[in-house]
């Protein structure tokens, strides 16, 4: 069985990776103590102010969702009870038609 051994193998590999990663983190913290005024961010040669760096948490993925038009599904959940019940009925009828077709 593949499924019985591979997870254990991969799990141990990941454990080693995490251990090494944690070790590196510890070492690098000791070597480079960061100071607050040293941190400056550059993008395309321009310096970015600190207030523009933080993403507003509320709209973390809003750009992606708007670009991919994924908010259509959210707009359907309008809080209108009749539309929910109609969806249940429609789903039921379509399912029954499908079952009658394939049974």
């Amino acid at each position: 069985m593949i499924a019985e051994f591979v997870p254990l193998l991969i799990a141990s590999v990941f454990a080693i990776i995490i251990a090494v990663f944690a070790l590196l983190m510890l070492i690098s913290k000791k070597i480079h103590p960061t100071k607050k005024d040293q941190r400056k961010t550059f993008a395309c040669g321009e310096e970015i102010e600190e207030k523009n760096l933080n993403i507003p948490a509320e709209s973390l993925y809003n750009n992606m969702i708007k670009t991919l038009r994924l908010d259509v599904i959210r707009r359907w959940h309008s809080g209108n009870l009749a539309s929910y019940i109609i969806t249940i009925m429609l789903g039921m009828v379509l399912m029954i038609i499908y079952f009658i077709y394939v049974w």
């Binding site: 593949i2 499924a3 019985e4 591979v6 997870p7 254990l8 991969i10 799990a11 990941f14 454990a15 948490a57 509320e58 973390l60 993925y61 809003n62 969702i65 994924l70 908010d71 599904i73 959210r74 959940h77 009870l81 929910y84 019940i85 969806t87 249940i88 429609l90 789903g91 039921m92 399912m95 029954i96 499908y98 079952f99 009658i100 394939v102 049974w103």
Partner: protein, 490 residues
């Protein structure tokens, strides 16, 4: 029939029912006693369930005829491996939910704990029922108790959620009763084993009956065209009840499995194609909607919808590749563990902050890092990161779908990425951008269940063979011949 095995887990239902009455009687005079009654009765239920688990492992299927009437006429109570595994999980998480509620619920305890006991009665009863009508009655008990629990806070959100959930859910359970009427007209019996013998495959009514049943139980399990109630209901209810709603979904999943395997014994591959289609829609819609939430309970509700989609994906694949059923059962166990862990972490946060909005939580309260790490472990288990239990079951799902249809594997991986995205969002808002000065300690009754569930996540992650063995034991005994034979005492 020889010597009979006592079915202990059925007494768990009676004890929980008695505790509901006792809470109502004693609690009117002394409100403080109510949580102790609930904790004691759920713990007793857990112990009794574990006793039956031992019996089922030894004997495969345990039955009981209530009142001594023989099988097709009396009420039969059946425990086979599928139901006992889910029953054990439900009893365990129910006990933990009672512990978490101990500090969470501070007012109107009598109302809360009476309804809590009743909702546990409903879920356990669905898992025990050996005939269609008791299944329906227990689903109604579960539903009515949950309507009142959703309206517990008596504010705008709770009341709106409750009335909407009530209307939708009563319609869906009405469809279940309609299909039971059709089945009774067709076969003249209600016992599941008897129906399986008498139903045949020829009648033209069968697709209608099955469509009605799948709608009704799919509503309980929150499959996608019927999922609109779940985020509203979870948002209205107190936070520990979110975990109970996950268990209620699992009861719906169990009912669908029971219909597929025992009552109808469906071998038609096209029906499984429909299940795969529904499950893909469930996964994607749940994950995409969870991305856009700002309320932690709503986000977790959509996350649990998405995870139920994974269970049904594995289940639908099962007809094409034998390992799918194993993956479905294993993932069901894991979903119960990590989803309830997430809901309990959310309960701690909401208990501290007094609001379920993620932004308000991050501004108003700060807990010890143990909570953050527990939440992270729960989320990473939901994503399916190695060393945690979600990975083990999702790995089997990926492998089996890869054999059948690689497109499904890509979708499953994509939804995992989306899961990571909303997990990062919730973690980032609530723990990393925390700007509060108010420090609070986690109550010990909330910390212990969370730590036990974290330990379970890690244990099943580094030792998945245990879960696979349990699931294979379930799958081996799924065939309805064993079930029917045991019910009729052959």
């Amino acid at each position: 029939m020889g010597d009979k095995i006592e079915m202990f887990s059925f007494y768990a239902i009676l004890i929980l029912l008695a505790s509901a009455f006792a809470t109502a009687v004693i609690g009117i005079k002394r409100e403080g006693v109510a949580p102790y009654i609930a904790i004691a009765s759920t713990f007793t239920a857990l112990v009794l369930t574990l006793l039956t688990l031992r019996d089922v492992i030894a004997n495969r299927i345990v039955t009981m005829q209530i009142g001594g009437w023989l099988a097709p006429y009396g009420i039969t109570v059946v425990m086979d491996p599928l139901s006992i595994v889910i029953t054990s999980i439900v009893a365990t998480i129910g006990f933990f939910a009672a512990l978490v509620s101990f500090r969470f619920v501070e007012e109107r305890k009598v109302e809360y704990y009476t309804l809590f006991s009743l909702i546990m009665v409903g879920i356990l009863g669905v898992l025990h029922a050996g005939d269609m009508f008791n299944l329906f009655v227990f689903i109604e008990i579960l539903s009515i108790a949950s309507y009142s629990l959703v309206a517990y806070h008596r504010d705008k959100i709770s009341i709106e959620a409750s009335i909407k959930y009530l209307i939708m859910s009563s319609f869906a359970t009405g469809l279940i009763l309609l299909s039971i009427a059709f089945i009774y007209g067709l076969t003249g019996t209600l016992n599941m084993a008897d129906i399986a013998l008498k139903l045949g495959t020829e009648s033209g009514l069968l697709p209608i009956i099955f469509g009605l049943l799948l709608t009704g139980f799919g509503f309980k399990a929150a499959l996608v065209p019927f999922h609109a109630w779940k985020p509203d209901a979870v948002m209205g209810a107190p936070a520990p009840i979110g975990a109970i709603f996950v268990l209620a979904s699992l009861a719906g999943v169990y009912a669908i499995f029971r219909m597929f395997f025992t009552v109808f014994f469906i071998t038609n591959i096209s029906v499984y194609y429909l299940i795969i289609g529904l499950s893909v829609a469930t996964m994607i819609v749940g994950a995409i909607l969870a991305l856009q939430q700002t309320d932690i309970l709503r986000l977790l509700a959509y996350a649990s919808i998405s995870q139920v989609g994974y269970i049904f994906l594995a289940f639908g694949i099962g007809a094409l590749h034998g390992f799918g059923y194993t993956a479905a059962i294993f993932h069901l166990i894991n979903v119960a563990i990590f989803d309830s862990l997430l809901f309990f972490c959310a309960a701690v946060l909401i208990h501290g902050a007094g609001s379920s909005d993620m932004h308000k939580i991050s501004q108003s309260v700060r807990f010890s890092p143990i909570l953050g790490y527990s939440f992270m472990i729960g989320m990473l288990a939901a994503v399916g990161v190695p060393l945690l239990n979600g990975f083990a079951s999702k790995w089997i799902i990926y492998i089996t779908t890869l054999y059948v249809q690689p497109l499904l594997t890509i979708i499953a991986l994509l939804v995992s990425v989306l899961t990571l995205a909303y997990g990062v969002k919730a973690f980032y808002i609530m723990f990393l951008t925390n700007s509060s000065k108010k420090r609070m300690r986690i109550p010990i009754t909330m910390l212990v269940p969370i730590l036990i569930l974290v330990a379970a996540c890690v244990f099943l992650g580094i030792y998945p063979q245990l879960g696979v063995q349990i699931s294979e034991f379930v799958v081996k005994n799924l065939a309805n011949i064993f079930y029917i034979g045991k019910v009729f005492g052959i």
